[in-house]
């Protein structure tokens, strides 16, 4: 797994819905192998940005992953270029087993001849992912019966077997216990060894521990960018989060209300 690492490069991205501009000229660069956190108040445009990158909503501007332009391609083509995402609500296939979920995720490049045959045994990359996400003992369990945290890991596992080079995770630790968050963070660190990771997250504690870089969005624009410390020290960020400027270092501390 020593494939080429790619970075994400967004230039002047704009998304509007019926006159309302959700993303208003965002430019940002995520270095290859980075773990970039996107934060910002509700309505800042975080999820819409990810929607635009993955082709779910129409956008103008430019989104390049490596040397490929993503804008204008349909969702499944973007996915085949190695861009994968999760959603705020977990979207595993609940009627299928963990193994079947991973096997489907691993198979987008399969030929029809392969698709029309039965699966025999467990493909290597699926077995590996089962170990990484800690669900090897539950391979034959229906995904719908998994605990919330396990579903989120299964989602990440599906991105791994899909062999995406860019992971876009929308609030991966929401609703997780402390232990589960730690495990998820470590999983992200491991995953980022040969992939680029972008995380939307509200949990500031999680952010401080696992973010390498942070971009703060506000009202569809980039408000601030840098390391966790730099962003926390930025008075504009404090103003957005708390409504007024405060002493450096004390904010933002809580998840937004």
């Amino acid at each position: 797994m020593t494939e080429q690492l790619y970075g994400l490069s967004i230039r002047d991205l704009r998304v509007s819905f019926d006159g309302f501009t959700a993303v208003d000229g965002v430019s940002l660069d995520v270095a290859p192998g980075d773990i970039r956190f996107l934060i910002g108040p509700n309505g800042a445009g975080k999820t819409t940005l990810v929607d635009a990158v993955t082709g779910l909503v129409k956008a103008t501007g430019s989104v390049r992953f490596g040397d490929r332009e993503l804008l204008g391609r349909p969702v499944h083509r973007i996915s085949r270029l190695g861009v994968g995402r999760t959603f705020q609500t977990s979207t595993v296939f609940e009627e299928l087993t963990v193994l079947q979920n991973l096997d489907i995720a691993a198979g987008a490049r399969r030929s029809w001849a392969t698709l029309l045959r039965r699966r025999h045994g467990v493909p290597d990359e699926v077995a590996e992912a089962l170990e990484v996400i800690g669900l090897a003992g539950r391979a034959d369990q229906l995904a719908g019966t998994l605990a919330h945290g396990q579903k989120q890991w299964l989602e990440i596992g599906m991105l791994l077997v899909q062999d995406v080079r860019l992971l876009l995770l929308d609030e991966p630790v929401a609703g997780m216990s402390h232990e589960e968050r730690d495990a998820t963070g470590q999983l992200l660190e491991q995953v980022s060894q040969d992939r680029t990771v972008v995380v939307i997250e509200h949990d500031m504690d999680f952010l401080r521990r696992f973010a390498r870089t942070v971009t703060v969005l506000h009202a569809g624009r980039v408000l601030s960018e840098g390391t966790v410390a730099q962003v926390q020290a930025d008075p504009r960020v404090q103003e957005v989060y708390l409504g007024h400027p405060v002493d450096a270092g004390s904010a933002p501390t809580a998840t937004e209300a």
Binding site: E95, R117, Q186
Partner: protein, 387 residues
Amino acid sequence: MTTVARDPATDVDPTPPVEKPAAGPSRHRFRAAAGFALGAALLFAVAPLVLSDFRLSLLAKYLCVAMVAVGIGLAWGRGGMLALGQGVFFGLGGYAMAMHLKLADAGPGNMPDFMMLYGQLDELPLWWRPFASPWFALPATVLLPMAVAFVLGSLVFRRRVRGAYFAILSQALAAAMVILLIGQQGTTGGTNGLTDIQGFFGYDLDDPVNQRMVYFIIAGILLALLALTRHLMQSRYGELLVAVRDGEERVRFLGYDPATVKLVAYVVAAGMAGLAGALFVPAVGIISPALIGIVPSIEFVIGVAVGGRATLLGPVLGAVAVAWARTALSERFPGTWTYLQGLLFVVVVAFLPGGLASLVGLARRRTDGGRRPGPLVRLRRSRVEAG
């Protein structure tokens, strides 16, 4: 790679660890083979022995309905596409076959009897002519419906027309087709359809022996279609189809085009319906708009719902049972049958969405010490969106 995410289920998740399914692949295969052998024995040995010629020809008719049901089970039960217009494909297959048989009955160079009767035409219409050749007509019974399904399916699935919208469109197609057939009376037989078909590739259909042969053909083809469907359902494609049913967008984000996945199931179902229509014609001797419109199209679905939409055998048994009940009741108490049919729709779909198969699954779980039913049998709420 090492495991970093610990499994916290031991302390947070109260569900007991699931035992591995007891049946390995080889045992599955054995049971399937045994099931097919049993089905073949019933259809080929028991039924012809115990049923009168009349009953056997009725069964032949039911088995044609069951073929349509197998396809609906695939498209709707596994793929989430509520195909309410399968009558169109049944009709295309049926008309293709009936046109050939009418031409064969009339003899080379002659026009079918009804065309002479209406007397509007001096010669055979152009689009009838290829059907004189069995080499065109027989493949057409399957390929024509598949082609129509392909065109409609690729147009609507690619534009993400789905759920209720798709159901309504497929139903509207059935309505349009019936109106078209009725309107072109001179060349299609209009409301009467194509009737009074005498021969089947040189065999006289009035002869009970030949009717029996038609029954055997139908039973054999139904078994073959079941084998094909079973394979599709258990293949990786079958798993993917369920995934598309439950999370079309998610599948898209995994790099698949769900439109193609759905299209395959829809086209296969259309082919099955076409084949069923084609075989219906020698079995019953008629094809008409009344057999393929909105009402019969939706009636194909009820058998599937009763039997268990997401299972392999449920649609077949459900379709045969509903068709049998219809014959048994509707002759003596036509009103009662309509009430009963309405109630079937209400009770089964609202309160037993898994169909009778889900009852079997329940019973088996109880006696079998907790072995889970096939994951796909347990049809929870279908999350197919309305838009």
